[in-house]
C-alpha cells in the first residue's frame, strides 16, 4: 500500500519534472540567448577583441605577458589556460605560497602591491590595480624605447573607475593596455 503510494508520487514527479525541464531547461535559456543577442551581442559571445582583423582574445579573460615590453598581469595558478580556471588553493600560512610570493617580489620589486604577488581566484583575472600598472610604466617605456607619456596614455585608456563610483575596485585591463602598447610599436 505504502509502496504503491510512493510509486504514484514518483511517477507524478517524473511527469512534472519532464515538463518543467522543457520550460526551465530549454525555453528559458533560449529566451535569455535571444535577449542577450539583441541587447549585447558581443558580450553574450564572450567580449572577443580583434587587432588587425584577427581575434586576439577576450576583454574579460586575462593572458600571459612576460616580456619587459608588456604590461604584466597577475600571476596565474592556471597559466591563463581558458579551459582550466582555478587558483592555488594554498592556505594563508602555506610555506609554498610564501616561497612563491618572495620569489615574485625579487622579480616584480619590493614595493609591488598584493595583486602583483598573488594568484587570482579564476586564474584568468583580466585586471590589475592602478598601483601595479604605474610601477611598470618606466620599465615598459624603456623596453619599447618610447616616451613614458605614451605608455601612460595606454594605461590610462585601459583604466576603469569603480562601477557606479563605489562598487569594487579601480582596475586596469591588461589586454586592452597591451593592445594599445602593441600599436605603439617598439
Amino acid at each position: 500500500m505504502i509502496m504503491k503510494s510512493y510509486l504514484h508520487h514518483l511517477l507524478a514527479g517524473l511527469r512534472i519534472m519532464a515538463l518543467l525541464t522543457v520550460i526551465l531547461g530549454a525555453l528559458y535559456p533560449l529566451a535569455i540567448w535571444g535577449i542577450g543577442h539583441v541587447l549585447a551581442p558581443g558580450k553574450a559571445e564572450g567580449s572577443i577583441v580583434t587587432a588587425n582583423g584577427r581575434e586576439v582574445g577576450s576583454r574579460l579573460i586575462g593572458q600571459q605577458f612576460t616580456g619587459k615590453e608588456w604590461l604584466w598581469g597577475r600571476p596565474s595558478a592556471a597559466d591563463y589556460d581558458g579551459r582550466a580556471s582555478g587558483s592555488s588553493n594554498l592556505g594563508p600560512n602555506s610555506p609554498e605560497l610564501l616561497k612563491t610570493v618572495t620569489g615574485l617580489k625579487e622579480i616584480r620589486g619590493a614595493k609591488a602591491p598584493a595583486d602583483a604577488l598573488t594568484t587570482s581566484g579564476s586564474g584568468l583575472d583580466p585586471h590589475i590595480s592602478t598601483t601595479w600598472a604605474q610601477q611598470q610604466v618606466e620599465r615598459i617605456a624603456k623596453a619599447r624605447g618610447v616616451e613614458t607619456g605614451r605608455v601612460q596614455q595606454c594605461i590610462d585608456e585601459a583604466t576603469r573607475g569603480r562601477r557606479l563610483g563605489f562598487l569594487g575596485e579601480r582596475t586596469v585591463n591588461v589586454l586592452e593596455a597591451n593592445m594599445c602598447l602593441h600599436a605603439l610599436g617598439k
Binding site: S5, Y6, H9, L10, A12, G13, L14, R15, I16, L19, L20, T21, G25, Y28, P29, A31, I32, W33, I35, G36, K43, A44, E45, G46, E55, G57, I61, Q63, Q64, D81, G82, R83, A84, S85, G86, S87, N89, L90, P92, N93, S94, L97, L98, T102, D115, L117, T118, S120, G121, S122, L124, D125, H127, S129, R163, F166, L167, G168, E169, N178
Partner: protein, 553 residues
C-alpha cells in the same frame, strides 16, 4: 574615494536593495502560497501530468510528494550525466562515472551544488541546461514549498492539511523564480556574462600564444544559481570566473539575488500568520548574524594575517582585482550564510580567521539568512527551541503563536537539529579513519583538518562551497559527501513537515500573562543565543583542532 568609504557605500547600497524588495516580494510570495487561482499554464501542466491540484495533502502525503519529486529529479539528472557523450552540444565530453554522477545528481537535487569535477572540462552545454539549470530552479522551489507548509502549520487550526506540494512547487518555479531569473540574467548578459551555445574560441594572443576561450549558456544558469541559493558554477572557478561574474555590478547583483528571497520570506511568514512583528523578529535574527559575520570577516581579510599574506602585503591570494576585498568578503559571507555556496574567491586562501567565519556561517545551520525556504524553516525550528528552553528556565508553558509545544513537536525539533551535525561530524570522522582518507588532504596539520571539516560541513548543510585543497574526486569523497548531502537535506525536510503536521492540528491557545512574547529585542537576543550555543556545543571540539588551532599558530 578611499577603499573603506567605497566599501561602506557598497554595503549600504546592498542593504537598501534588500530593504526595497522585502515588503513587495514578501507579500507576493504570501499571495503565491495562499492564492486559490491557477494560471492557464499551470492548469495545462496539472492536466497533462495528471496531478491532482485540487486536494490538499496531510504531512505524510506532502513529504512523499517531496521525496517522489526529488527522486525523479535525481534519476533524470543521473541519467543525463551518464549518457552526455551521445547528446548534442556536449562537444565530446565524456560520460560521468557512476560514483561521480551519483554525487553530482544528489548535489544539485539537494540544492547543495558541491562540485567534485571542473565544470568547463566535464559537463556539456545540454546537460548544464536540461539538468543543472532545471535542478537549480526546482530544488530551490522545493525548499520554499516546505517553508510554506511549515508556516501553514502555524497559521492553521484543527486540520491535518498542509497544502498541495505539486501546486506549491510549480507556482514557486513559474511565478517567483522564473520571472526574477529573467530579470537578473538580462542584467548579467548586458554586463558581459556570456550566453552562447558555441563551444568556444581558439585565439592567437598578441604574444603569439594559443588561448582557448570556452563559451556556454551561462547568464541563464548564473541567475538561477544565485536566486535559488544553489551556487554551482558553470566553470571550476565559479563566481570568480569573469564569464560568470564579469563586473563589480554583477557581483553585487549576485549577492542581492542570493539573499533577497531568504530575507523576504520572514515577511511572507508574518503575513500568513497575521502578525508582522513575528516575521520582523525572525528577520532581525538573520540580519544580525549576517552583518556580524561580514564585519568580522572583512576585518580579518583587511588585516591579512598569515606569513604568506603578510609577505604579499594583502589578502589577495585567490581573490579578483575587480571586486576588491570588500566585494569579495560580502560575496563570501552571503554565499556561506545562505546555502548558496557560490564563491567569487577561493576560501581556502582566506586568512584563518576569515575562513573560520565562513565555516561558522554554515555551522550555525544556515540561518543567516539561510537558503531559499530552508533559512526560514531552520530559523523557525530554532525559535521553537528558544521558546522551549526559556520556558523551562522560568517555568512557563512553552508556546509559539498560540501553539503548545508538547512532546511530539519537541521531538521533531530535536531530531531536526541533530541531523546536520551527525551527517557532518560522523562523515568527516569516518572518512579520516578509512584507509587512504588522510592522503586525500592537500595540507598537513590543522589546515588539512579544516579542509575536510569544511567539505562535510558544506555537504551536510547543502551549501556546496569548498576549501578546495583536497581531492574531492576520489570515490571516498564523492560517495561520502553524497550521503551527507542526502541526509542533510531530506531528513530535516521530513522532520519539518512532521512538525507542521502536529502544529496544524492544534487549536490556538489565547496568550496569557504567562506567555513569552516572541517578538521584540528580548526574544531576538534569546534566539541569537540559542543559535550560537547549539553550534558551539556541537562543533567546538572539532573546530578547536582545525581553524582555531590554525589561527593561534
Amino acid at each position: 574615494m578611499t577603499t573603506t568609504t567605497a566599501g561602506l557605500l557598497q554595503l549600504a547600497f546592498y542593504i537598501c536593495l534588500i530593504a526595497a524588495a522585502h515588503v513587495p516580494l514578501g507579500a507576493y510570495m504570501a499571495r503565491i502560497a495562499q492564492g486559490e487561482k491557477h494560471t492557464r499554464v499551470e492548469r495545462l501542466l496539472y492536466r497533462f501530468t495528471g496531478v491532482d491540484a485540487g486536494t490538499e495533502q496531510n504531512w505524510r502525503h506532502y513529504a512523499r510528494s517531496v521525496l517522489g519529486f526529488s527522486l525523479a529529479g535525481l534519476l533524470l539528472l543521473y541519467l543525463l550525466l551518464r549518457i552526455q557523450r551521445w547528446l548534442p552540444l556536449t562537444f565530446g565530453r565524456e560520460n560521468f562515472p557512476a560514483d561521480g554522477a551519483f554525487n553530482t545528481a544528489v548535489s544539485f537535487v539537494t540544492n547543495t551544488n558541491w562540485q567534485w569535477y571542473s565544470g568547463e572540462a566535464a559537463i556539456g552545454h545540454l546537460p548544464q541546461m536540461l539538468g543543472l539549470t532545471v535542478q537549480n530552479f526546482v530544488s530551490g522551489a522545493v525548499g520554499i514549498s516546505v517553508a510554506f507548509a511549515l508556516v501553514r502549520g502555524f497559521a492553521r487550526m484543527g486540520t491535518d492539511k498542509l497544502g498541495n506540494f505539486w501546486v506549491d512547487v510549480t507556482r514557486v518555479s513559474l511565478r517567483l523564480l522564473l520571472p526574477l531569473a529573467i530579470v537578473v540574467a538580462t542584467i548579467f548578459v548586458c554586463e558581459g556574462v556570456i550566453q552562447s551555445f558555441a563551444a568556444g574560441h581558439q585565439v592567437t594572443t598578441l604574444t603569439g600564444a594559443q588561448q582557448d576561450i570556452p563559451l556556454g549558456p551561462i547568464a541563464s544558469q548564473e541567475a538561477i544559481k544565485q536566486l535559488g541559493t544553489n551556487g554551482g558554477g558553470f566553470f571550476n572557478a565559479n563566481g570568480a570566473h569573469p564569464f560568470e561574474n564579469a563586473t563589480a555590478l554583477t557581483n553585487i547583483l549576485a549577492i542581492w539575488a542570493m539573499t533577497v528571497i531568504p530575507f523576504s520570506l520572514p515577511f511572507t511568514f508574518g503575513r500568513m500568520v497575521r502578525d508582522r512583528r513575528q516575521g520582523f523578529a525572525i528577520l532581525a535574527v538573520m540580519a544580525t548574524l549576517q552583518l556580524a559575520s561580514f564585519g568580522l570577516a572583512v576585518a580579518a581579510e583587511l588585516a591579512h594575517k598569515g606569513t604568506a599574506l603578510m609577505a604579499a602585503g594583502g589578502s589577495m591570494e585567490g581573490k579578483e582585482q575587480r571586486f576588491g576585498i570588500w566585494g569579495t568578503v560580502l560575496y563570501g559571507t552571503t554565499g556561506t550564510g545562505t546555502s548558496t555556496g557560490a564563491v567569487n574567491s577561493m576560501h581556502d586562501s582566506w586568512t584563518a580567521a576569515g575562513g573560520g567565519i565562513l565555516m561558522l556561517n554554515m555551522l550555525l545551520g544556515e540561518v543567516s539568512p539561510g537558503g531559499v525556504g530552508t533559512g526560514l524553516y531552520g530559523l523557525l525550528v530554532i525559535a521553537l527551541l528558544t521558546v522551549f528552553i526559556s520556558g523551562l528556565m522560568v517555568g512557563r508553558t512553552p508556546e509559539y503563536l498560540g501553539k503548545r509545544l508538547g512532546r511530539a513537536e519537541m521531538t521533531s525539533v530535536a531530531l531536526y537539529i541533530l541531523v546536520m551535525p551527525m551527517a557532518m561530524l560522523f562523515g568527516a570522522a569516518i572518512t579520516l579513519m578509512l584507509p587512504g582518507g588522510q592522503a586525500t588532504l592537500q595540507d598537513a596539520g590543522p589546515h588539512g583538518l579544516s579542509e575536510i571539516l569544511y567539505a562535510y560541513t558544506s555537504g551536510a548543510n547543502n551549501n556546496g562551497s569548498a576549501f578546495a585543497g583536497f581531492n574531492a574526486a576520489s570515490p571516498l569523497h564523492t560517495v561520502g559527501i553524497g550521503l551527507a548531502m542526502l541526509f542533510g537535506r531530506f531528513l530535516p525536510i521530513v522532520f519539518a513537515l512532521k512538525l507542521a503536521g502536529s502544529l496544524a492540528q492544534q487549536q490556538r491557545v489565547p496568550a496569557t500573562a504567562g506567555t513569552l512574547p516572541t517578538h521584540g529585542p528580548l526574544f531576538i537576543t534569546l534566539c541569537l543565543g540559542i543559535v550560537l550555543i547549539v553550534a558551539a556545543l556541537t562543533f567546538f571540539p572539532a573546530l578547536a583542532l582545525g581553524p582555531i588551532a590554525e589561527a593561534l599558530l
